[in-house]
């Protein structure tokens, strides 16, 4: 399992219905994307952090997961500081810092809501409910099969790469390229082989073409819906009030 999925299984909010968490995180995401970034982005960030602490999300992992996307957000925002094609070929953009800050704040707040959702909702919880949607059955099965196989294949990739590293497979750039290519090729062979063996095993057990999972579904109490909708509504109300007062 990836660290994010592991944290999602351990989260205190795991037992809540994914739709409830979807309302909270989706609502906060909508606030971050659609409302004026000041003060909405700050309020969304505060609500996200508060929720993360309440859900027992490891904040260190959250920060590590955010690091990569934040670099891309910072690079994209930094590009707004300069302007090209004006009177001078390259110059400082008028109003650049304000625009860059706005984009960076909006995207960082939105990223936080995505992390809150993925760190509290295991993918398996979502997939089990996917078969009840109106998506084509073949697609749902392929998504479920992909999820079941990718963890095994990730483990294989990790073991093969450790073996290569132990044999100085990544000592030089040239060796690294060769090892990475060999790893890709071996993974293709392994995934095909695994699929064939799985097919044979399932056929022996009377596989009918469906791998459904029973979900112990309980009705969601109205108070949970209300609690999930409250933070986004509060953020929206505070932002709109402060904008109107200005």
């Amino acid at each position: 399992m990836t660290p994010i999925d592991t944290a999602a299984y351990r989260s205190r909010w795991r037992r809540y219905h994914p739709a409830v968490k979807g309302v909270l995180c989706g609502g906060l995401l909508a606030c971050a994307l659609m409302l004026p970034p000041w003060p909405a982005a700050a309020l969304v960030a505060a609500a996200t952090l508060g929720s993360a602490v309440a859900a027992g999300v490891p904040l260190g992992l959250m920060a590590r997961a955010a690091a990569g996307p934040l670099v891309l957000i910072a690079t994209s925002a930094a590009a707004l500081l300069v302007s090209v094609g004006g009177a001078e070929p390259v110059g400082w953009a008028p109003g650049g810092p304000a625009r860059a800050a706005e984009v960076a704040a909006r995207a960082s707040a939105a990223l936080g809501t995505q992390l809150l959702f993925v760190l509290t909702t295991p993918v398996a919880d979502l997939l089990a409910r996917l078969s009840r949607t109106r998506l084509p059955a073949a697609l749902v099965e392929v998504v479920a099969l992909t999820y079941q196989m990718l963890m095994v294949l990730l483990g294989t990739a990790h073991r093969v790469a450790s073996g290569q590293a132990a044999r100085h497979g990544y000592r030089s750039r040239r060796a690294g390229l060769r090892s990475a290519g060999a790893l890709g090729g071996v993974l293709f062979l392994r995934s095909l082989d695994r699929a064939r063996r799985l097919q044979e095993g399932l056929a022996c057990r009377g596989y009918t073409g469906r791998l459904t999972v029973l979900v112990d579904e309980r009705p969601v109490p109205p108070v949970e819906w209300a609690a999930a909708a409250a933070p986004p509504l509060l953020v929206a109300a505070l932002t709109l009030t402060s904008t109107a007062l200005r």
Binding site: L72, G86, A87, A110, L139, V142, G163, Q164, G181, R194
Partner: protein
């Protein structure tokens, strides 16, 4: 290159989702047909999806140390064709957003358009073109050139579309969309051009390994031309296992635990 959550305005995110949707729907239709005609194909397609995800999560050597999530698009499109890749790529992107926080959920459509639609079609077009142009060259040379061009151009095509998506969302106050595109393309080319070259080289090594140990599957997938001498449709399983094991221990590294499992 994945656009993170929140970097595109909602209207742009919706428009890119609408742009990617026909390709994904077409892919799902052809996948449904394939599964209906051939039920065991489902497991192979699932395995291919897992393969694409793991490839995209691999760390490969690059100019700035190591870099993750390249490799997949070029190799995947050559092996599985663009319509299937539109579905597999989108599924991969969904899992990347949910399991690795690479790429956002609201920007899933935009990322699917660049990584699962444009990248695979560019790769496949380049592959077919170079294969046709180099038909007189020896099979190995022609295949290596075609695979390198496919992976290289898929990587560059993807990053060009991502730059365009960001430029449309955040146009330059003076230079407009074109000026913003120039800015983003220049900034990202510092990392993306070396990654594209490395991705091309790594993909060539992977396909050369597959050609030597799993020719039957590559012929079946249409990557290799059938040899004049009769080639078995699928290599016997024991031989494939033995060859994979050899490749694994000789070039790729031992994995005894996996074998024993």
């Amino acid at each position: 290159m994945h656009i993170p959550e929140g970097l595109l305005p909602p209207l742009h995110a919706a428009a890119w989702t609408a742009a990617a949707a026909p390709f994904v729907v077409h892919g799902v239709r052809s996948l449904t047909r394939e599964v209906r005609a051939n039920p065991e194909a489902k497991l192979l397609i699932g395995a291919a999806g897992a393969f694409c995800f793991v490839l995209s999560a691999l760390k490969i050597p690059s100019a700035t140390g190591t870099s993750s999530h390249p490799v997949g698009v070029g190799l995947g499109s050559v092996l599985f064709r663009p319509p299937v890749m539109a579905v597999l790529g989108t599924v991969t992107l969904l899992f990347q957003a949910l399991l690795l926080a690479h790429g956002g959920l609201s920007t899933l459509g935009a990322n699917a358009f660049s990584l699962a639609v444009v990248g695979p079609w560019v790769a496949y077009g380049a592959f077919r073109l170079v294969r046709a142009l180099t038909a007189r060259l020896p099979e190995g040379t022609s295949l290596s050139l075609a695979v390198f061009t496919a992976a290289f151009s898929a990587s560059l095509g993807t990053y060009t579309v991502t730059s365009l998506q960001l430029a449309l969302a955040h146009p330059d106050p003076e230079g407009g969309v074109l000026g913003a595109f120039a800015k983003y393309a220049t900034v990202f080319s510092v990392t993306q051009v070396p990654i594209a070259v490395i991705e091309g080289l790594v993909t060539v090594v992977a396909v050369r390994l597959l050609t030597s140990v799993n020719r039957g599957d590559l012929v079946r997938l249409g990557v290799l031309r059938p040899a004049p001498a009769p080639v078995p449709e699928t290599a016997p399983r024991e031989a494939a296992d033995r060859e994979a094991g050899t490749a694994d221990t000789a070039a790729a590294g031992g994995d005894d635990k996996e074998k024993n499992a």
